[in-house]
């Protein structure tokens, strides 16, 4: 498995758009799309949990080349909170209920679009990392908060 590439991000964006699937890049992958200079391994998507959106998600993932079995597709359709995919062309984490964000609709309204990529607002990314309170997040938050100030000053 190679590293996630710009071309693959484009493929996600285009496939999800074709299937009218609403999702947002979140986590460090989202921050990187917004310009945060750091490293990460996986792309993480915050997906709207509605029956029609989950059906669209399964179709888009299969089109992208993820080998979802019927059971695995059922997990997505039933709305598991967190799904980790390493059975496709790149690693992808799907989160339906990220810590620190009340509901998808609010995050969708606050989203930022970067070259057509829908991305969570940095405040939501920071809120999520703050609420998850993991060691890895705690270490990255000071720099991420500093970037937030820089980023907001340029908008």
């Amino acid at each position: 498995m190679g590293a996630f590439e710009y071309r693959q991000a484009q493929e996600i964006r285009d496939a999800f758009s074709r299937h009218a699937c609403r999702c947002l890049f979140i986590g460090k992958s989202g921050a990187i799309l917004l310009g945060f200079p750091d490293t990460t391994q996986d792309a993480t998507l915050f997906v709207e949990r509605s029956p029609e959106n989950c059906r669209a998600l399964v179709e888009a993932l299969r089109e992208l080349g993820f080998a979802l079995s019927d059971d695995q597709a059922g997990d997505v359709l039933r709305g598991k909170d967190f799904v980790q995919l390493k059975n496709g062309p790149f690693d992808l984490d799907l989160v339906f209920a990220p810590d620190g964000i009340e509901h998808f609709e609010g995050a969708w309204r606050r989203r930022v679009e970067v070259e057509g990529f829908p991305v969570c607002h940095l405040d939501d990314i920071i809120a999520s990392k703050t609420a998850s309170n993991r060691q890895r997040d705690r270490e990255s938050l000071p720099r991420l908060r500093a970037f937030r100030e820089y980023w907001m000053s340029r908008r």
Partner: protein
């Protein structure tokens, strides 16, 4: 950085506020340098792949709740990966 946001500032959740003058010079230089790069190049520098024990050993995992996922990480992943809660 060509970005646009359809959302009003009043809807955003509050976060700790700082001033750009508080940003360490080294970080500020990195932010400025990144802003000068096109997105494709930023992504090439940002996304790396290294093997993460246990985490990378299954092609698929799903968790009913985030709490289940966090607990699984704490019980199964090496501490040094940093997935444990503080």
């Amino acid at each position: 950085m060509a970005t646009k946001s359809p959302n009003p500032a009043s809807e955003r959740p509050s976060t700790e506020l700082r001033s750009t003058s508080d940003i360490p010079a080294e970080w500020l230089e990195e932010f400025e340098a990144a802003a000068r790069r096109p997105l494709e190049q930023r992504m090439r520098y940002a996304f790396i792949h290294t093997y993460k024990p246990v985490l990378d050993d299954a092609p698929y995992r799903a968790f009913d709740t985030m709490e289940d996922y966090r607990r699984w990480c704490e019980e199964n992943l090496p501490d040094w990966l940093g997935y444990g809660r503080i």
